[in-house]
Symmetry: C2
Amino acid sequence: MGGLEGNRKVGRLAPVRRTSTVDLIAERLREAVVDGSLPPGTVLGEAELAYQLGVSRGPLREAMQRLTAEGLLVIPRRRGLAVKTMTPEDVRDIHWLRATIEPELGRRLLTLPAADRRAVLAELGTEVKRMQRALRRDDARALGDAYLDFHRVLASWGGSVRLARMLGTLLIETRLCTFSMFEHFEVHRDLVPEHVAFVEALAADDGERFGILVRAHLEAEVRRLLAEPEDAKEDDTDRLLAETPDEPQPLDRLDLPEGL
Amino acid sequence: MGGLEGNRKVGRLAPVRRTSTVDLIAERLREAVVDGSLPPGTVLGEAELAYQLGVSRGPLREAMQRLTAEGLLVIPRRRGLAVKTMTPEDVRDIHWLRATIEPELGRRLLTLPAADRRAVLAELGTEVKRMQRALRRDDARALGDAYLDFHRVLASWGGSVRLARMLGTLLIETRLCTFSMFEHFEVHRDLVPEHVAFVEALAADDGERFGILVRAHLEAEVRRLLAEPEDAKEDDTDRLLAETPDEPQPLDRLDLPEGL
DNA sequence: TATTGTAAGTTTGTCGACAATCTGATTATC
DNA sequence: GATAATCAGATTGTCGACAAACTTACAATA
């Protein structure tokens, strides 16, 4: 009788979460992208990468396709894989999209039952505290991670699987924007008070104010990221990546994700 | 001098669009999904499908991963690939998302320069005419195709690559909703006047009205699709697919696309 | 009769190998 | 001296094959 307790409702076992190798590789690659071990413009050979991951090239190539569909990787012809370098246009696009999505998420959050709403606010509060601790330690990396998790919490409670997935990708792309524009993290002091204000607005049931604050934050981020538009990263890796033409692509049909 | 004319600006040749095999396969699969040759719940073996497409299993598996990331396919463990069957919850999610996105697109369209705006209206008008012709012929298939293209035009002029890509996927998913709920197309008479009204609202610069109309249309679509929630498609293919549990999945972390 | 155990068959998941292609540099020619 | 052509090297794209895992059917037992 001791030991395996808790299976009171016998028909309701939690399903076993078995994850495939491709999933593991994809997750590993995403981690590497967000933590900066694969900076934008990195061009890696498949054989080398597969060896590092301890898998064969087959599953790796499958995972690459997954990341490509998410827009985090580009696959230049016969040149392995490259982490996407975000252009100023990408920066604007990503942040504009987030500025459209996140206020909507806030609005949806406020329609949740009271218990759930308390739970969300608690989770958000936890992340803000993480941000505060990171700021005190001047740990830009930890600050950025907590920032991502804060917005991931927002996504996960939005009630839409698709939107959550999309915002999750957008957040990784946001991180790529930072890496594409600057060489490394920098501590961003305004971030914490801004997010405290976000939580306060939500706690006060003021979805309108939340939206305004979020939009202001994101616009400020765009300005900060695009402050010096020209001198940002002009090394050779970018030119290799530029094989994918960003400007002259014919605008007749950009309907579906196709390698890009 | 005859022959190859038109290269006046010599430095501005259109880049050669070379498409990889994986791209071709992925596009082919998407076509098959939208035209109904791969109905929701279809479980196909890799070898069989690869043979039909005339390729090896390698590239096919890579394309599968691409479609999986888009949410059109699910990959049950060791059971090949299955076209996603949309649940009522999916139907609501997809249409709610579209109801959030498309009004925003309309608003953005109205900020375009006059010339572009005329071009959009022209393209939209063309699609509406296609819808009208299809309706006169009682061709539900053609009507549905024109419907998709109408909204694709909307997406392509929205000024956001990411949003365009996302709406493109959402539209295919919309088609999957139809296939998941009904056995086949049905001619939908209200569709044409509704879309005429959309174009009129845009032509009148009334983004507000456009948004209201679009939301109304999408809500009506949800009601129509979920009219008979129980008797819709209860064959064995669905149960096979149900290996991916829709209800009892632990809701702790739904942050990133992982197979699902 | 229902349930469990066993076994065969089929299919996936993974790996290794081959060939086509691209890159980069070196050489020859105008 | 600069441009074009050639050649070697390396890497991707694709295919075939093997082993593990899962499914399904059948048989045995309680």
